[in-house]
């Protein structure tokens, strides 16, 4: 069984990080260039880590599967980034941001990690401004803020609706500078296919060049994974199509524990699925619920009618009915589940039956069409582009979709996994959001990890490794790992099946959404645990991967990723089944308050579940790290 030592420093909460920084070991500047560090991924976390470590003097190799390190899906984040700057003088503080994030996560994150995140949030804004990120400004030239869900202060910094893009391009610019200066060795079109562990330490990776098919070995003194979340286990999500869980699943199979995979976040206002061909779900900002009214037809018989033909008395404004005090502004998870229930009752709008209306007719009466356009014009445009419908004339149709995963590889306070030398940053780790992430906190965490945490904590590990002691890429462990990867590739290409990879990804996605989606039950999860192995079996025998292994072969890439998603899906279901409570994004029907809110069980489940691989076909072990709340009193999350 793995030992899970969180390595939380002792002392008062607000002093832990400062104290830790002064106590951890340092690497002497002239020794830094003797250490090689591999960074996989170049989203916010990966790009910021790679350039910062290079500036410190380490030799950095950066691997991305994209054609350029400017493409990672951090780029699609719209809303903003939180920071406890208190520029608005509205009472914000590090403690308040810490508390909001911890509470928003439904008390399932570590106090010390979250506090550190809140502390460095202010440095992130300074850093990004220095890089020339064109944040929104007030007329006086100072930085502007907006407010966001789950907070009573205005602490979100933004760059129009493209904050993620601008922050990522900022990190990319630093990465480009260090690549240009020869400090970072950048490998694009390069997908990590295995982690190499030598004498119990992570010492390298196996990589496939997606253009030439060449498989290569890379050794290093430490390996950093910053490879993002696993939401595409549901196939349809707001993630980019290429987002995948392959790096974290390969690390898992090499012994890294995977924590809380059942913590997935579902966003209530996305554009619904329109057909079987669908590849992607698009988010509509939840700010729309400020003025839109959510409803579904009362009678299943009306669901195919045009909404205008459904009389007022035949409409069910179900959020207003079920949650009279909060109405359309009830929390994300509650709104999502209510929409699902209406559709489950056969009242979902449209041919697919999976959609409810978000109606602006009253808002237009109140504010005029121009008033509504001023507030939401760009969102109405996006909606029109995708659906060809005008939301000024007819209500929008929306449905919840997966858009973030809080679970990920287990890491200690230093962001190191239970495999020494393997560090995990950003959405790929499990650490800071508990069971639910607040809006504008993902960007904050990615950059905190890369700019301000890993540069310190990696030194503590490397100082204990003798310079020049890293194994050569000719070591037996590298060869074994490479041979295994070649074997998998050959098997896929030789498979005599009939169906394209997408066929299995779609089926997995449907299954996950149905049984491990917004609302989970013991019975449903058990069903999933029967169906997933059957799907795996069928995938192995009936998948068709045309082409060869020595050119660009997107089917082959997808085959590997879907195989990993199948395994991850199974683990997610297992985790959801074992967690007999509801918290944040994990909702078990059996455990709810009468008003439909999550019912936590702090006595039994105030812990992190970190799953440890036991080999092919054997049940993984569920390790537990207790969450001790020393400074904050856990309470029932209540936004009413």
């Amino acid at each position: 069984m793995a030992t899970l030592d969180s390595k939380i420093p002792s002392g008062p909460l607000a002093d832990k990080w400062r104290k830790h920084k002064t106590e951890i070991k340092l690497v002497n500047p002239s020794n830094k260039r003797k250490y090689e560090v591999i960074v996989v991924g170049a989203g916010l976390a990966g790009a910021s880590a790679a350039s910062t470590l290079a500036d410190l003097g380490y030799k950095v190799k950066n691997f991305v599967f994209h054609d350029s390190p400017r493409r990672a899906h951090s780029i699609a984040a719209q809303g903003g980034i939180n920071a406890a700057k208190n520029y608005q003088n509205d009472g914000d503080s590090v403690h308040r941001l810490f508390y909001d994030t911890l509470k928003g996560g439904d008390y399932r994150a570590r106090e010390a990690n979250v506090h550190r995140l809140a502390e460095v949030s202010v440095n992130i804004i300074d850093q990004c401004a220095a890089l020339g990120v064109p944040f929104a400004r007030e007329y006086g030239g100072l930085l502007a803020n907006r407010s966001f869900g789950g907070a009573q202060v205005s602490r979100t910094f933004y760059a129009r609706g493209q904050t993620g893009q601008q922050l990522l391009l900022g990190a990319y610019s630093s990465l480009s500078r260090t690549v240009g200066a020869g400090l970072v060795d950048l490998h694009t079109h390069s997908e990590m296919l295995d982690l190499v562990v030598v004498n119990g330490h992570a010492k390298g990776i196996i990589v496939r060049n997606l253009i030439t098919g060449e498989i290569s070995r890379h050794s290093a003194d430490a390996v950093i994974l910053a490879t993002g979340g696993y939401g595409n286990v549901y196939n349809l999500s707001t993630y980019a199509r290429g987002s995948n869980a392959t790096a974290i699943m390969r690390a898992y199979r090499r012994g890294a524990c995977l924590a809380n995979p059942c913590y997935t976040q579902i966003h209530p206002t996305c554009i619904p699925v329109s057909g079987d061909y669908q590849s992607k779900l698009t988010l509509m900002s939840e700010s729309l619920r400020n003025d839109g009214r959510v409803w579904a037809p009362k009678n299943p018989a009306d669901r195919l009618k045009a909404p205008g033909e459904i009389a007022e008395q035949d409409r069910d404004y179900f959020l207003e009915r079920l949650y009279p005090s909060f109405g359309n502004l009830c929390p994300r998870d509650v709104a999502s589940r209510a929409a699902k229930r209406a559709c489950d009752e056969g009242r979902g709008a449209g041919e697919s039956g999976l959609g409810v209306y978000l109606d602006f007719a009253d808002a237009i009466k109140r504010l005029g069409e121009n008033g509504v356009r001023e507030r939401y014009g760009n969102l109405f445009d996006i909606y029109h582009e995708i659906t060809a419908e005008s939301a000024y004339q007819t209500p929008m149709r929306i449905y919840p979709a997966v858009h973030y995963t809080m679970g990920g590889l287990w890491v200690d306070y230093n962001l190191m996994s239970n495999i020494p030398g393997l560090f995990v940053l950003g959405e790929a780790n499990f650490s800071d959001h508990g069971s639910n992430r607040l809006g504008a906190s993902a960007l904050m965490q990615g950059l905190a990890d890369g700019y301000f945490v890993i540069p310190y904590t990696i030194g503590d590990y490397l100082a204990g490794q003798k310079p020049g002691s890293r194994p050569s890429a000719d070591a037996a462990e590298f060869k074994t790992a490479e041979d295994e990867i070649r074997g998998v590739t050959t098997r896929f290409l030789a498979s005599k099946g009939k169906e394209p990879v997408s066929h299995f990804h779609k089926r997995l996605g449907k299954l996950m959404w149905e049984y491990c989606g917004m609302a989970r039950t013991k019975q449903g999860l058990e069903t999933a645990l029967q169906k997933i192995p059957a799907l795996r079996e069928e995938f192995q025998t009936n998948v068709k991967v045309p082409g060869s292994g020595d050119t660009l072969n997107q089917s082959l890439e997808q085959a590997g990723r879907v195989a990993d998603f199948i395994d991850l899906g199974e683990l997610l279901a297992r985790d959801a089944l074992a967690r007999e409570e509801s918290c944040g994004g994990h909702f078990r029907e059996e455990h709810q308050h009468p008003d439909g809110e999550c019912k936590r069980d702090d006595d039994q489940f105030s812990h992190v579940a970190a799953w440890e691989y036991q080999g092919e076909g054997r049940a993984p072990v569920r390790n537990v790290e207790a969450l001790n709340y020393e400074f904050v009193k856990m309470s029932v999350r209540n936004y009413k």
């Binding site: 350029s68 007329y139 057909g275 590849s279 660009l552």
Partner: protein, 269 residues
């Protein structure tokens, strides 16, 4: 209301550029794409065609894509002769099948430019863009060295204009649309974004000289003010930024001719 009721399914002939590898010759191949739903995206249509090809044991069409919401800059198809296809201010992934009619012949090819060699089918190599950025598309600010953000106010009009340029997604449509395959709009967007910010002043001259130098060395053509670039840009970035960059380049060149006496590193005290 919903388009799915009002429209019937339809079919098109897809004329796709197939090319096995960078050094192999390419050619157009026709495929029938039937049962199209107008609400499908263009890339979803390609997904369906690819699944059919796979079932038949043929190699699917390689095409680049990722976010499918017009922000990552990965997708890059020229559709019916237009980079990113019909429609203004959208990327290939934001093209929907309702833009086509039953029986249409739709040609799809990669963005064409000498500096963007074809890797396979519709996938091109745009690493030249990264090399231009590596030459100077940054403000040097090591983590840990940044001053308090509000210590340096940025006039709102400057920040807004910088943002207009900074929205570039690095797709390369500007190059593909230009008869000279010039990368001026791409480079000008970055030079203008950073040059408009007070933080970007220290490296302003060096930046524009270095980026333009690499741009020329990568084999992009000259700008002859055709403005096709802005029209094809999925973010509709204005060609005014090109004029701004030309001014910057001119001033920087003049200043570079007069070098300070001691530009080397000085010894410590």
């Amino acid at each position: 209301m919903v388009a799915e009721h009002s429209s019937k399914n339809f079919g098109i002939t897809l004329r796709v550029w197939r090319q096995a590898g960078p050094t192999q010759p390419g050619r157009f191949v026709d495929y029938q794409s039937q049962d199209l739903n107008p609400n499908m995206s263009f890339l979803e249509m390609l997904d369906v065609v690819n699944d059919e090809l796979t079932r038949k044991g043929e190699e699917p069409i390689a095409f680049a894509h990722d976010c499918r919401e017009g922000i990552c800059g990965t997708c890059a198809c020229t559709i019916n002769g237009k980079p990113h296809g019909p429609g203004k201010g959208v990327a290939t992934c934001q093209v929907y099948m309702r833009a086509f009619r039953d029986g249409d012949v739709v040609t799809v090819e990669p963005f064409r430019a000498a500096a963007f060699p074809v890797i396979k089918d519709l996938v091109i190599d745009r690493s030249a863009f990264d090399r231009i950025q590596q030459a100077g598309g940054f403000i040097t600010a090591r983590a840990g060295s940044a001053p308090e953000a509000n210590a340096l106010p940025v006039p709102k009009p400057d920040a807004d204009l910088a943002m207009d340029a900074a929205v570039c997604i690095g797709c390369g449509a500007c190059v593909a649309a230009c008869k000279n395959a010039s990368a001026m709009l791409f480079v000008a967007a970055k030079v203008s974004h950073l040059g408009l910010m007070p933080q970007g002043q220290a490296e302003r001259d060096r930046r524009v000289l270095a980026m333009v130098g690499v741009m020329d060395a990568e084999g992009f053509g000259n700008c002859t003010n055709q403005y096709e670039c802005s029209a094809a840009c999925p973010k509709l970035i204005s060609h005014d930024f090109i004029a701004r960059m030309n001014r910057d380049y001119f001033t920087a060149s003049l200043r570079a001719a007069v070098k300070p006496a001691s530009s080397g590193a000085s010894g410590g005290a």
